[in-house]
């Protein structure tokens, strides 16, 4: 009965999405306040119904209702409760339902918190949200209905793919979707602005918090996915330049560009049509990401079983959304008058440089990811593009971007003084170069990469600190006054400092693992000792462990340095009872400076076990950096100016003083 309620609620939600997508548009065109108001009601009701539908499916999972095909295929009565719940989105149908739920919730948030938006703009934004929702509701109901019944109901289910039964992956999809779907709001604002033919500082100020929130979640989602791959897959790596990973990186790069260009639009009333274009493209790439992951057209190490028909539907939908958005853009964007003028060397110029490089990086990832698909479609060879391609393109192209990050905030709006900024940064630059030179003597491989990377890392972190110190006039005025200035700083600028410094932390982590990782694969017998990265490693005979829905062999590996125990790791090999599938559970001991990492392999039947050991210097910094990056975004989001917004659209936005 409850699944039927969920199904029915979903159908109703689709009908409401249709109403939300059409009536407010007509209302805005005719100036009918009643029709426009309908958009808000529809958005709230659609979200409530979609939530009801999602809860119905969750309930079916929690009580293990095996008359539902979806529950049978992805759940089992002995599964721990957490994974029964997360199993809801651990499959295609459920994850699409989660997608459309988040979409509807974002729509409802615009309806609820958009009180200061002009009525016509709000009506149009909600209408575009409704149309996107309609597409996804139809997709779920017609190709991927999670409420399909199965008769007769089997006694028990097939269980969830064991590698998904993990806390890291449990929350990776919701966060990633919050990011992907959050970009739909920026898209809707862009399309609504094109329909209105008006983009101004007030518009940019409304778009920024939504983009910022989406970007924060996307950052966290990508980081969580990468962290999961790091400890669950047992390869000791964190990023494989795999199509599925690239699919989430592309929208992130463009969302980052959008965040920065929206600042220029807000403060200086310039780059309007570029900002609108970025908003359209960022969401299109988020949809493309969904398509790549869901259709299985590319061989991926993260691939799941797929159905090509569904891929085709999403592809059609992308063509509609991106094509529609871009057509509207081509038609209406020339009407958007250019705004404030500025010299090439200025804050605006710096932000354009940032946007240019981020766009170029997106193009590189896009080509690398889709080239094999293109070649295949043209009847050419089956090829793949792997990490060496990105090492030769993405990495060198990202260096100038990272180097420029420190300069940007020191340049004034309109006309900046690059020589002055360089003089101010001389000390930071000298330290960074010294770090690079020092590293070039220490590194044993990838010397150039190590030197540039570590130098850049120091440059970014110290540069961000310098910029903050300058702003609060540290050591120029009494320390107490500096602290008062710090408290008084706009949150947005504190957030920027954190996010910019986090790039340096993240860079250091990536370089640390890439350059100084030590890998040992060996056959280890209990009682024997092995040398690995300066440790003496020994193992006890693995024990049999009985888990809730798996049995496992748990090893106990001791790492000693100079006779002192540095770490005791207990990696596992799990065999899941229902599916008979194995998973490798890596054990990691992290100090802030390095990860000691071990996985347990198979027994050779003669008393030895294959073990895979890694020493990953600075690895924790990768995720620490990503966490700081998102934190910077969230701090920025609490800025009063973004919450209060710009309730009145100024005729001509007054020039804002440089921050």
């Amino acid at each position: 009965m409850i699944p039927e309620v969920g199904h029915y609620a979903l159908v109703l939600a689709m009908v409401l999405a249709l109403a939300q997508g059409t009536l407010p548009l007509a209302g805005a065109a005719k100036g009918d306040p009643g029709l426009m108001e309908l958009g808000r009601t529809a958005a709230l009701a659609q979200a409530a119904l979609t939530l009801l539908s999602f809860l119905a499916l969750t309930w079916a999972y929690v009580v293990s209702d095996f008359s539902l095909l979806n529950v049978v295929a992805n759940s089992h009565s002995s599964k721990p409760l957490l994974y029964k719940i997360t199993g809801v989105w651990g499959n295609h149908e459920g994850s699409m339902l989660l997608w459309v739920l988040i979409l509807a919730l974002f729509g409802a948030a615009v309806a609820a918190f958009g009180a200061n938006l002009p009525t016509t703009l709000r009506a149009r934004v909600l209408a575009v949200q409704g149309l996107i929702g309609l597409g996804f509701h139809a997709f779920i109901l017609f190709t991927s209905n999670p409420f399909d019944r199965l008769d007769p109901a089997p006694f028990d289910g097939n269980d969830l793919n064991p590698i998904l039964q993990d806390p890291g992956l449990a929350f990776h999809p919701p966060l990633l979707y919050l990011g992907y779907v959050g970009l739909s709001v920026s898209f809707s604002f862009a399309v609504a602005a094109l329909i209105e033919g008006r983009v101004d500082a007030a518009w940019a100020r409304w778009v920024r918090p939504w983009t910022l929130a989406a970007w924060c979640f996307l950052t966290l989602g990508i980081a969580l996915g990468s962290w999961w791959a790091y400890y669950e897959l047992g390869w000791g790596g964190f990023w494989f330049w795999d199509p599925v990973e690239n699919a989430s990186l592309m929208p992130w790069l463009l969302a980052t560009a959008l965040l920065h260009s929206a600042i220029v639009t807000e403060k200086r009333d310039a780059l309007k049509s570029w900002t609108v274009l970025l908003a359209i493209l960022a969401f299109s790439l988020a949809l493309l990401g969904t398509f790549l992951v869901r259709s299985g057209v590319l061989t991926s190490v993260h691939a799941f079983a797929q159905d090509p028909a569904r891929g085709l539907y999403i592809l059609g939908f992308i063509v509609l959304v991106a094509g529609g958005g871009l057509t509207l853009y081509a038609w209406r964007a020339p009407k958007l008058a250019g705004g404030g003028l500025f010299a090439p060397i200025s804050r605006e110029g710096g932000l354009i440089f940032n946007n240019l490089l981020l766009a170029v990086l997106t193009v590189v990832v896009f080509l690398g990811t889709l080239y094999p698909l293109l070649l295949d479609a043209l009847g050419g060879d089956k090829v793949s593009v792997g990490p060496p391609f990105y090492a030769a393109t993405f990495i060198p192209l990202s260096f100038p971007l990272l180097a420029a990050v420190v300069f940007g905030p020191l340049l004034a709006w309109k006309r900046g003084d690059i020589l002055g900024a360089s003089r101010q940064l001389a000390a930071v630059g000298a330290v960074a170069i010294a770090v690079g030179v020092l590293i070039s003597f220490v590194a044993q491989r990838h010397v150039t990469l190590a030197a540039i990377g570590c130098g850049l890392s120091a440059w970014l972190i110290l540069g961000a600190i310098y910029e903050l110190a300058r702003r609060i006039k540290l050591f120029e005025i009494p320390v107490g006054d500096s602290l008062r200035r710090l408290v008084g700083l706009p949150r947005a600028s504190i957030g920027m400092t954190i996010a910019h410094a986090s790039l340096g932390i993240c860079t250091a982590g990536i370089i640390g693992v890439s350059v100084w990782q030590v890998e040992t694969i060996a056959l280890l017998k209990p009682g024997d000792t092995l040398r690995h990265a300066g440790f003496e490693v020994s193992m006890e005979t693995p024990r049999e462990i009985d888990g809730p829905n798996f049995v496992a062999e748990r090893g106990r590996i001791t790492f000693k340095r100079d006779g002192q125990v540095a770490a005791v790791l207990e990696p596992e090999r799990r065999i899941f009872k229902t599916t008979r599938r194995q998973t490798t559970e890596a054990a990691i001991k992290t100090t802030l400076l390095a990860d000691i990492y071990a996985t347990l392999g198979e027994s050779d039947g003669k008393g030895g076990w294959t073990v895979r050991l890694y020493h990953n210097p600075l690895a924790p910094w990768i995720w620490l950096g990503a966490a700081f990056c998102a934190l910077g975004g969230f701090v920025s989001l609490t800025d009063r100016r973004l919450r209060v917004g710009a309730p009145l659209r100024a005729r001509r936005p007054a020039a804002q003083p440089a921050e």
Binding site: N161, I163, L164, L233, G234, W235, G296, V297, L298, T299, V301, H302, A303, F304, A305, Q306, G338, L341, F342, A343, P344, I352, L356, L357, V360, V363, V364, L367, G368, Y371, D381, K382, V383, S384, V385, G386, P388, F389, A392, T393, P396, L397, I521, A522, L523, T579, R581, Q582, T583, T584, T599, G601, E602, D604, K606, G608, T610, R612
Partner: protein, 148 residues
Amino acid sequence: MKPKRKRLWLLLGSMGAFALAVTLVLVALDDNLVFFHSPTQIADKKPPPTQRLRVGGLVAPGSVEKGSDGLTTTFVVTDTRANLKVSYRGQLPDLFREGQGVVAEGTLGTDGVFLAREILAKHDETYMPPEVAKALKDAGHWKKDAGK
């Protein structure tokens, strides 16, 4: 600076950046493309040992053997028409099984044994890499449901 000159400057800058990026991409693609071969294609073409490539097919049942060092695994990859012996040192992915699809990346040794540097893992046992599906189809032994 006049708006017109500013725009020209911007346009030139962006075009320069994109040209640089495209050049980098093309050069990198030229050097770093990894071609996929089925066992039949390898038997026909005999690629040089310097070329990094991917092979894919089914792991022939009964062919998986552990080496004496306990770390090296050898197995036969087949597209049902031709066979290729593959050797891999290290820990196999969790979903590596006899009779299932596999993709390996590495080089062809002079002795005709494929030295795999990496065995591509899958997250789902019902997943069949598209290249493997095509290789099997080309060899004339593809049932639509074989991957499911």
